[in-house]
């Protein structure tokens, strides 16, 4: 699959960086790829130490609230009477927009 990373032994550090950049949708220069490759290898080597920790059947902690239920609110907009203005203000944040859309170059 195009989006998957090849296993480590099948690619060089630089190839890995290029593939990650593709997945992350970031355009990197050749110079950046050369600079990042050894840095990422060093960092990954360091963080890989957690592979040796015996985690038993501990469940992943995905939030500092750790199991506490998040409170949901009603699905009602803030400033409900100001929706048109809010939409316009949001559109104005874009580099290019029309009356009701964000504008991007044609990519057909």
């Amino acid at each position: 699959m195009e989006n998957q990373l090849p296993p480590a032994h099948q690619s060089s550090p630089e190839e890995r960086v290029r593939r990650l950049a593709l997945l992350a949708r970031i355009k990197l220069s050749d110079e950046e790829v050369r600079a990042f490759a050894p840095q990422l290898e060093t960092i990954l080597k360091h963080v890989s130490e957690i592979q040796h920790v015996d985690v038993g059947d501990v469940r992943p902690m995905l939030s500092a609230l750790d199991g506490r239920d998040a409170e949901s609110r009603a699905d009602s907009p803030r400033n409900a009477d100001d929706q048109v203005n809010q939409s316009q203000r949001t559109l104005q944040c874009a580099p290019e927009s029309s009356a009701d859309s964000f504008v991007v170059p044609p990519v057909l």
Binding site: A21, R25, E32, L44, I50, P60, M61, E71, F102
Partner: protein
Amino acid sequence: MTEAKLPHTLSELHRDFESGVWTPVSITEAFLARAKRNRLNAWLTLCEERALSQAKQLQQILVARGGRVPRDSHPLFGAPTGVKDNIAVADIRMTCASRILDNYITPYSATVVEKLENAGAITLGKLNLDEFAMGGSNENSAFGRVLHPTHPDRVPGGSSGGSAAAVAAQECLISLGSDTGGSIRLPASYCGVVGMKPTYGRVSRFGLVAFASSLDQIGPFANTVDDAARVLQVISGFDRFDSTSTSNSSVGLVPSLSLKGLRVGLPTDLGFENVSLGVKSAMTQVLDLLKRAGVTVVPVELPYVRHAIAVYYLIAVSEASSNLSRFDGVRFGARVEGARGAQSLEAFHAENRSLFGPEVKRRILLGTFALSSGYSEEYFLRAARVRKLISDDINAAFSHVDVLLSPISVSTAFKAGEKTQDPLQMYLNDLYTIPANLAGIPAMSLPWGRDSDQLPVGVQIMAPPGHDEKLLGFAQTLENLREQAE
């Protein structure tokens, strides 16, 4: 005519208003003048007109009340305030110190900013930071590094370097920063001011540009514990626009804490044998004072804490890679000129996202790796499991101690450029601060003198989750002890 002495605390400011030494307008003008000189490159945007307009309104309130400051309704009345530039102030440029948001004007204010301003604070402007809050030295800003307030060849710490330096240099009285792995506490320590990260969930993140959603918290910088407490009381509390905001979370009154019999835990895994002389000396002094005041010092073992850096640099980067995927040049932010010729929408995104700085790119790539198919189980999820072990260690410790004490860092402020060549070296500097974010507990840096180079030192106080008031009470007592000893 020489300018009157600038107030150092909210109490002094309010007394000065009532005695007529300063008015809301004159104090705003005085601090704005200092901020405009921007000696430390702490400020990215100043809101002069807006600030003066706020000041004039407050002046009218003061006059209407016969010169009495309405402390109950406006506890931060007239306080010249800086806001880290990853926290939204409506209609003001917000860059996150990144070229990708160079021209971005935010259409709304963060909940914390609304609360500050309703309490009478005057927002002077937006403060410099490491790009997207990623860094420990404020050398990663696209708009230049922030200088240390007293030693210009050194770093102020990061990522909230501007927020800490501006308070230390009296360019504002209080400021807001954000802390994901130590980004309030480290610069507070390096710059010699109070900086606190609250319990996760007590301060709304609505309007804070997300870096790592399960770790980020907004918190105050101030010159005293009392002022930090007042800011926290204003900005904390449930917010229905932040789904990680906890109910009953407003920070209440700070208790007067008796030290006699209090149990202070010293984590042996966050010890101070191999730290700089200045840090060791500060820790030793603090412990001496505490013991003489009747505290029981208890060594505490946190065996999984040695994995904290690895865990953090997997979880934080993973969350960041997800959070920063929104910056693609479509709905907001800058576009690269060359992006017009892109052959696909993905290529268009990729061109625009080349505007990120190197540290941000590095962390997004790492996070992308940790979350990718075939690796996410062994990296991201495993890190989340070890996070649980670390958090359990810390909570278990609190079952037999009241607070934890540790250094903030292995040294005082280092020289600019010293750690920029090796990203891992910079990451390892976060050893002492990261555990509090992983566990979601409140933590503070309390200034404790200076080392032999006259560089400020801070000590770290941590408390159980939800016990921010106890932490503040302990810190206040310690601060009083420090003043008596001076």
